[in-house]
């Protein structure tokens, strides 16, 4: 058995460059996708102001409080050019009649030109509506006070007082927290977790797939007739792949923590447990896949597709909340990616303990065990030519 492990280690020695390259590229991707170290990317929205009324400034200022979008005032020509070059995602046109529509009519129409039609446009639409309602209601209140004071106080004085109260004397405030009173983090952690889970999966699976290379080169046939036997060979391969994958994933977490301040090292023990079970589940899946294909070439064609689909289904690239289909949400439960992302998010973002993620850990363990045993059984039964 030790000899089989030694043989795998020697093979690994020849592949360390590939493993390092995979790790380096994973970290590069995390960096790029999280928008550098800030992770504070805002989509640009152009504002074309056709009205010269002072109140439009209040509307624009209200929009600029947004944390979601970066609002930029532009001419219509500039805005359209930037839309076409994808430098802006949408353009809002404030009509000439903005003030009249806002204060004297029962409705207002704002034109929104966008280059896409998705959830972020829905959020933008809500933000526009809220800002208009805020500006309109503030203006209505000022006129209400004016009426109540029988027009004895100048409108500017009322407005000044109202603005002062609004800025400094709001009685009600709202605070957002996570479960352990942490300040809510941005989505940097989600991107990092998702990308690490996605990218390390390839090296883990390809590590085990080395066995197929032996089958292709007929060395497998020679080894199984040696005293080592099939099971020991597979076990040795699995053990080495497991530890390589585990060390790799932990290293990526540690480097990401160092580079992006991603809060992994604070919870390194819990992160390690989830990572170990995730690597184990992938090892199980890889063993099963190996048992179903006939050559490295088939495995090579199948692996990226299976792993990418699993990562997409499992919520590595986007939160599963945006998926409405019940079938796809059910399928997501069958992927180890979903449980690994969920477990890591709960530990790192919400600061849950291991007890709180017992479901995630159990599912990862079960997926690994079931696939590994079925794979092992099938490989034992299979005759390779």
């Amino acid at each position: 058995m030790l000899r089989a492990i030694k043989m795998q280690m020697i093979k690994l020695k020849h592949q360390y460059k590939i493993i390092l390259a995979m790790m380096g590229l994973t970290i590069l991707m995390i960096f790029l996708f999280s928008g550098g170290q800030g992770g504070d990317y805002q989509e640009k929205i152009g504002i074309v102001n056709q009205s010269d009324a002072e109140i439009t400034e209040n509307f624009i200022n209200s929009l600029r409080q947004s944390q979601q979008y970066d609002y930029v005032v532009a001419t219509e020509k500039e805005a359209i050019e930037k839309l076409e070059a994808s430098e802006m995602v949408a353009m809002i046109k404030i009509p000439v009649t903005f003030k009249e529509d806002l204060l004297l009519k029962d409705e207002i129409t704002i034109s929104l030109t966008s280059i896409k039609s998705d959830i972020s446009m829905s959020l933008l639409e809500n933000e526009i509506k809220e800002s208009i309602n805020l500006v309109r209601s503030s203006e209505s209140i000022i006129h209400l006070i004016d009426k109540s004071l029988k027009h004895e106080v100048k409108l500017d004085v009322i407005r000044e007082n109202y603005d002062k109260h609004w800025l400094y004397k709001k009685p009600l405030s709202i605070s957002e927290e996570t479960i352990n009173n942490n300040q809510v983090r941005n989505n940097l952690n989600h991107s990092i977790i998702g990308f690490i889970i996605l990218f390390v999966s390839y090296s883990i699976v390809y590590g085990i797939a080395d066995l197929l290379e032996d089958i292709d080169l007929r060395t497998w046939h020679r080894m199984i007739v040696s005293p080592l036997g099939k099971n020991r060979l597979i076990l040795a391969n699995s053990l080495v792949s497991f530890f390589t994958g585990f060390i790799q994933i932990i290293l990526v977490f540690i480097i990401s923590d160092f580079l992006f301040n991603a809060n992994f090292s604070e919870n390194i023990f819990q992160v390690s447990i989830v990572a170990a079970l995730y690597v184990f589940s992938l090892m199980g899946i890889a063993t099963f896949v190996i048992s179903t294909v006939n050559s490295f070439k088939q495995m090579d064609a199948l692996t990226p597709i299976v792993l990418t689909s699993m990562a997409m289904l499992g919520g590595c690239l986007w939160p599963l909340e945006i998926v409405n289909s019940k079938i796809l949400l059910f399928l997501a439960n069958l992927t180890p990616h979903k449980w690994a992302v969920s477990g890591l998010k709960k530990i790192m973002i919400s600061q849950f303990s291991l007890e709180d993620i017992i479901l995630e850990l159990s599912v990862l363990g079960i997926i690994g065990l079931v696939f590994y045993l079925v794979g092992l059984y099938r490989i034992n039964k299979k005759v390779y030519y």
Partner: protein
């Protein structure tokens, strides 16, 4: 002879039925999954199912609250009863039909709420502190300002719905603040200007104000850029998956030359008088034909099953041919590298990580418009990103002239891959002669 070689290469590819099934069928499966999974996220009228939140009431509601320094003032009993925070928050706000359609709530203790977040059963927990009801009452009825805070504890696993909860509660805060501030400013200015006696009918004015807010309609008229079609999820992911899987066609073809070498057929072809360039041309055309096959299957499937509109057929054909030339050049280049290195390490690295990265950079996973600016700039670096842009341009109805930049980029990529291939072959030739 040359045609026979291409036929032989195609036969070899088609012989491996499982491999072919994987390469042709999987993109179809994947694009279908993605199209349906993200269908709603690709609609601006995004609808989310009703979700649940928890509310912690740390206060107790009393029949009457004492107002400091105003003990002797006679206030309407109805006003006292209705102005407490409990009434305002639940009866006038959370129980409204519009809010109930979006989210339902249950009253919980703090510990129950935290447990429900841990069990992923609620999207957020709203904590109203022990003085909430009384403080709202004081803010409404007295001239004093009592600072108060509503805590929203978010469930990070339900980031979208927890943010919606925050926005809704924030909306409540805004409305409350406006009403209370309007009262405070009115009293302050009236006191400063000796007008306290003339203030009357505030309640009916506030009601009118509230009604005017509720009846006012903001219409957002959404449209796309003139002459450009908006892309839905099915269209986007059909094009995105096609662009991504063309990389895999090249990657999976990268062992074509190595396989010839390992099975000794390469040497046999050379001694039978077939030139190296003929062998390479054969591989090039094989990869090119595989690209056409993959594209035809994907486009056919998405057109007839997913009802995707790819735009003008002639323009689409032009784009596919241009893409085929570039992908085949790339495939040839990596075939030569694999052949020269005599191992599959490059293929493994390409299929496992590099193609995923190129696919991500090119926008095959997430549309680049939704990504940081650096990613938007990088979309043109990998040729699959350029191919995706060309396919999207065709769908949006842009003319070939308007896609000149993308075609030029593809041309440059092709030139680069072919030049590298030429240099590598020459290097290998010198190396072989040396031996």
């Amino acid at each position: 002879m040359f045609i026979k070689m291409i036929i032989k290469d195609l036969k070899l590819v088609f012989q491996d039925k499982e491999y072919l099934l994987i390469v042709i069928l999987m993109p179809i499966v994947l694009s279908s999954i993605l199209s349906f999974a993200l269908q709603s996220a690709f609609q601006s009228t995004y609808q989310i199912d009703q979700f649940k939140i928890g509310v912690v009431k740390e206060y107790t509601v009393e029949e009457n609250y004492e107002i400091p320094f105003m003990g002797n003032i006679d206030i309407d009993r109805d006003v006292l009863e209705s102005a407490n925070g409990d009434n305002i928050f639940f009866d006038n706000f959370l129980d409204q039909e519009e809010i109930q359609e979006i989210m339902s709530y249950e009253i919980l203790t703090y510990d129950q709420g935290i447990q429900k977040i841990k069990d992923n059963k609620i999207s957020a927990l709203v904590v109203l502190d022990e003085n909430f009801s009384k403080d709202i009452f004081l803010n409404f009825v007295s001239p004093f300002r009592k600072a108060m805070n509503i805590r929203v504890i978010k469930n990070e696993s339900k980031s979208i719905t927890s943010n919606i909860t925050y926005d809704i509660i924030s909306g409540f805060n805004t409305r409350m603040n406006q009403m209370i501030i309007s009262k405070n400013v009115l009293i302050e200015l009236a006191a400063e200007n000796d007008l306290l006696s003339s203030i009357n009918d505030i309640e009916s004015r506030l009601t009118t104000f509230n009604d005017s807010l509720e009846n006012y309609e903001v219409i957002v008229d959404e449209k796309g850029i003139e002459n450009k079609k908006t892309i839905d999820s099915k269209s986007y992911y059909s094009a995105a998956m096609l662009a991504m899987f063309l990389l895999f066609v090249a990657g999976n073809s990268s062992t074509l030359l190595l396989d010839e070498k390992r099975s000794m057929t390469y040497d046999r072809m050379i001694v039978s008088g077939i030139s190296k360039s003929e062998i390479l041309m054969g591989k090039y055309i094989t990869i090119f034909l595989l690209v056409l096959l993959e594209s035809s299957v994907m486009i056919g499937y998405s057109t007839y099953i997913l009802k995707v509109q790819w735009g003008s057929l002639a323009k689409l054909l032009f784009v596919v041919l241009a893409a085929g030339i570039t992908v085949a050049s790339f495939g040839l280049m990596i075939s030569i590298i694999t052949f020269n290195n005599n191992n599959r390490k490059l293929t493994v690295l390409l299929n496992s990580v590099i193609f995923q990265i190129l696919a991500a950079l090119g926008g095959s996973f997430i549309p680049v418009e939704a990504l940081p600016w650096i990613m938007q700039k990088l979309r043109y670096v990998p040729f699959n990103g350029v191919i995706l842009k060309l396919l999207l341009n065709t769908m949006q109805g842009l003319s070939l002239h308007e896609s000149f930049f993308e075609f030029a980029l593809l041309g440059l990529n092709t030139l680069l891959f072919l030049s590298i291939s030429y240099l590598l072959i020459r290097k290998e030739g010198k190396h072989a002669k040396g031996h």
